[in-house]
């Protein structure tokens, strides 16, 4: 059987290697971006000169010689489901028995970025990195970033590493407070400011003003006109489903897939950022543009294709991020605001950038989510608690088991545990916060 995978991001790469381990199928991995799968998460470190291209390849180049996977560095221009073939830009048409679309995301372009302008860029593709390299090789005095997401922070860190004064325009009143509770959002906001980013909060771009096709100014809703010669747009990503929709495959926001990750065309599957689950799994979104989800999809589709698995079943939700030197881990759901059903126990040491939050159900007392900043938690322990729906009191009593701190580090987990035990003993039904 010939399995063709379009896109060699982490979804496509994980599928290819997992499938090669489990089957005798011949596998073809097509990418127009880079001949070898690489870690997109490392784009910033490449730019900062901390690693080289060879260091960020998922597997060393030699690895691909020994596996039964052929790689094609070319662009797929068309999918022909009727004849089971994909058309390539420079090479001959390729026939498949099973086709997997893993085309990932594309940069979301807000209405004000309709036409290509010199000095305006996203940060997603390897091409974007080359563009940023060219833009900053002339050392602009300053740059502006629109959008307060994880990619925005990465871009800010990149620009600051070359001494370019950086301004971020964020729609929310504190960085990411639509996703994180206010206390954490404030810690992150302060940390970003401490690293030298100028934050403009609660504002949005209205218009780009250009001259001779190069950006000159941006107009903000509240702050008015701002001079700008380089603008990074990090307002999110969208599933890249163009190939699929052109081929007549059902798409909505992304490429619609059923529980087996199968599209509306039976021998075509979709995984990673570009896939949209027909039926949302409990507590999950239908599209998840997250590294960890994409990797799980790739690995599980390999099992589905060799009949070792019934359907896609992601593990307990988790995510991690770095805001400069401040690291975040999240397990399960975290409710940013307050609610009658969900109670928070949260503990912070803002001056040391430490924060731990546990959320649980007000009536059943079952744990629903864990969020921490600046401390390390052990993944397997947290996952076990969440999948077993452990009562919060048991979680707190055995909290130290979840510590993944390096040797000699200060024991913040103990401080949190003492506080949380105190709370549970005295007022277990109201949200509790401790700032030390």
């Amino acid at each position: 059987m010939h399995v063709v995978i379009i896109g060699n991001g982490i979804a496509g790469c994980s599928l290819a290697t997992a499938l090669a381990e489990r089957s005798e199928h011949s596998i073809t991995l097509i990418s127009e971006e880079n001949p070898y799968p690489f870690a997109r998460t490392s784009l910033m470190y490449l730019y900062m000169g901390m690693v080289r291209m060879d260091d960020v390849l998922i597997h060393p180049k030699d690895f691909w010689k020994t596996e039964r996977i052929s790689r094609i560095h070319d662009r797929v221009t068309q999918i022909k489901p009727s004849t089971k073939a994909v058309v390539l830009q420079h090479q001959e048409m390729l026939h498949y028995d099973v086709l997997v679309i893993a085309t990932g995301s594309k940069v979301h372009r807000p209405f004000w970025w309709a036409e290509e302008l010199q000095g305006v860029t996203g940060l997603y593709h390897l091409r974007d990195l080359q563009k940023i390299e060219i833009l900053t090789s002339k050392y602009p005095q300053s740059a502006t970033i629109a959008g307060g997401g994880l990619i925005g922070i990465e871009l800010a860190e990149m620009l600051l590493s070359r001494g370019i004064s950086t301004t971020m325009i964020v729609r929310e009143s504190a960085y990411m407070n639509h996703l994180f509770p206010q206390e954490e959002a404030v810690i992150i906001t302060q940390h970003i400011r401490k690293h030298g980013v100028q934050l403009i909060l609660e504002d949005e771009i209205e218009e780009l003003i250009s001259q001779e096709n190069a950006i000159q100014y941006i107009r903000l809703k509240k702050h008015g006109l701002l001079p700008c010669t380089m603008l990074g747009v990090t307002t999110g990503v969208l599933p890249d489903h163009q190939l699929a929709s052109e081929a007549g495959i059902l798409t909505r926001r992304g490429i619609v897939v059923n529980d087996n990750l199968q599209t509306s065309s039976p021998s075509i599957y979709a995984i990673g950022d570009c896939a949209e689950l027909q039926h949302a799994l409990p507590g999950r979104k239908t599209t998840e543009a997250v590294w960890y989800s994409a990797r799980q999809m790739g690995e599980q589709l390999a099992e589905i294709l060799v009949q070792q698995r019934e359907s896609y079943q992601p593990r307990i939700w988790y995510n991690s991020a770095a805001f400069f030197s401040l690291h975040m881990q999240q397990y399960g759901d975290i409710l940013p605001g307050s609610s009658k059903e969900i109670i928070s126990i949260s503990w912070q040491q803002p001056q040391k950038n430490k924060s731990i939050r546990v959320q649980y159900h007000s009536e059943s007392k079952k744990i629903t989510g864990i969020l921490c900043l600046g401390v390390r938690l052990r993944h397997t322990v947290c996952e076990q608690w969440l999948s077993d729906q452990t009562p919060v009191e048991d979680v707190i009593r055995s909290w130290i088991r979840a510590s993944f701190e390096p040797e000699f580090s200060e024991n913040y987990h103990q401080l949190f545990q003492q506080f949380a035990l105190h709370v549970l003993e005295h007022r277990p039904s109201t949200p509790q916060q401790c700032i030390q």
Binding site: Y47, I58, S137, S320, V381
Partner: protein, 445 residues
């Protein structure tokens, strides 16, 4: 490809240049004006001050900061220049010390080594040797670069504590204590320098020296033997070889401090791993054979065994492994092959501890097979690796840490010296140095 703004071909900033100018002036002043005892302190103090207060960042646009963009740290010609300079200095030190001013045949020291005479007189009552001057420079480098290393990793207590530890062992045990022993007419012994790294421990001159030194000499002989028979295996079993390589060892001390900027240059390929296994273990075996031969000669008086002369074997081991490999190449090639070249490809003590670090003892427990393992490993936090490659890039021992981390596997490798930098630089806190006798609930999630 990448223009470098406001930096010259050496990657140095104007501040460093003005510092160098001032330094040259100070050195000259020290030579001509100051009384001899003040010259070394003035040079050392001014150089240290300039280094620790150098400007590292400048406001306004500048070139890329990463080490792969810095000529000295990315194998460009400036790095080769430094390698040539270092290897030359080592060669002069080993084979032409008179060029540094060492007085031969009863003459007084001159030049560079003369600067060290007052300190040497102070410590042991005799003029400085080239090794005294070298030991001073070595210790000074460990302290100076150790301070910058601590600043760099100030938020990581493991890094801070172990750097204090190597600085302490270098100053007290490698530099001061042997000199003080000599001033008391005892033999020169670095009591943390265990066989087989200290390959001359069982040489005639060393054993004779110890035995002539009375009770203390016997104590040192006993300690030296306990060092490699009891202390090393026990400590390595319980804490991993890092207890020595990253906390105590002198070679490690220089590698972790002065060599820190070169750690990413170690080769991560499978080929390098194969070469490593084919050099480090044979050198360990060679060292054991040489020691047996030397002891055989000592006790039987027979000069050769199976046609091999113990004298010429120990001579050639000292020249090729002791001087050329661990000294000239070991430090001289920092800018080309990374800071742990010797530790990775050559050190027999590292080979010995590496074997213990990866040992598996199989036994049968009530009819069921079981095994005991040493406790040290680097654990991976579930499936949180994002394959960014920083851990592998920073590994001075050339371990492809990422290849384990992205599979959710623990890392148990003979070569790992437990420096902990992979854990410190991971942008997702995925790696942790842990001591666990049972299997931890990690693994891919």
């Amino acid at each position: 490809m990448y223009p470098v703004a406001r930096k010259d071909i050496f990657g140095l900033t104007p501040a460093i240049y003005s510092g160098l100018g001032l330094l040259a002036w100070l050195a000259l002043a020290a030579q001509f004006w100051l009384p001899l005892p003040f010259r070394l302190p003035v040079v050392v103090a001014s150089l240290s001050y300039l280094y620790l207060h150098r400007k590292t960042t400048e406001r306004g646009p500048k070139g890329p900061e990463g080490l792969w963009y810095q000529p000295l740290f990315s194998r460009r010609w400036q790095a080769w220049g430094l390698a040539v300079l270092l290897t030359s200095l080592y060669s002069i030190l080993y084979w032409r010390p008179s060029w540094l001013g060492l007085g031969t045949g009863g003459e007084e020291n001159t030049g560079l080594i003369r600067l060290f005479d007052p300190l040497s007189h102070c410590l042991k009552g005799s003029p400085a040797s080239e090794w005294f001057a070298y030991g001073f420079f070595y210790t000074w480098a460990v302290i100076l670069f150790g301070i910058t290393f601590i600043r760099k990793y100030k938020n990581d207590r493991y890094q801070v504590y172990r750097t204090y530890s190597i600085m302490f062992f270098q100053v007290a045990f490698a530099f001061l204590l042997p000199e003080i022993l000599m001033s008391l007419r005892y033999p020169y012994v670095d009591i943390k320098h265990f066989w087989p790294l200290n390959y001359s421990f069982f040489f005639d001159w060393h054993l004779d020296g110890l035995m002539a030194a009375g009770k203390l000499g016997w104590l040192m002989l006993f300690w030296g033997i306990a060092g490699f028979t009891i202390v090393t295996p026990m400590m390595t079993w319980y804490y991993g070889k890092r207890w020595y390589c990253s906390w105590v060892c002198g070679c490690g001390a220089l590698a972790e401090t002065a060599g820190d900027g070169f750690r990413h240059l170690s080769d991560k390929s499978d080929t390098a791993w194969r070469i490593e296994q084919r050099t480090i273990y044979p050198i360990f075996i060679l060292c054991i054979m040489m020691t047996i031969l030397v002891l055989y000669t000592r006790f039987t008086g027979a000069e050769t065994l199976a046609g091999i002369s113990s004298h010429s074997l120990s001579h050639w081991y000292g020249f090729v492994i002791g001087s050329l490999f661990s000294g000239v190449a070991g430090v001289g090639f920092y800018p080309i092959l990374g800071n742990r070249l010797w530790c990775r490809f050559g050190c027999p003590l590292a080979a010995y501890m590496g074997l213990i670090q990866t040992l598996r003892l199989k036994y049968t427990n009530e009819g069921r097979p079981a095994d005991i393992k040493p406790r040290f490993r680097i654990t991976t936090n579930g499936g949180q690796c994002i394959s960014c490659g920083q851990c592998s890039n920073h590994c001075e021992m050339g371990i492809d840490v990422k290849s384990y981390a992205q599979r959710g596997e623990d890392i148990v490798r003979a070569s790992c010296v437990g420096c902990g930098i992979c854990s410190a630089v991971c942008p997702r806190d995925v790696l942790n140095l842990e001591l666990k006798s049972e299997e931890m609930p990690t693994g891919k999630v």
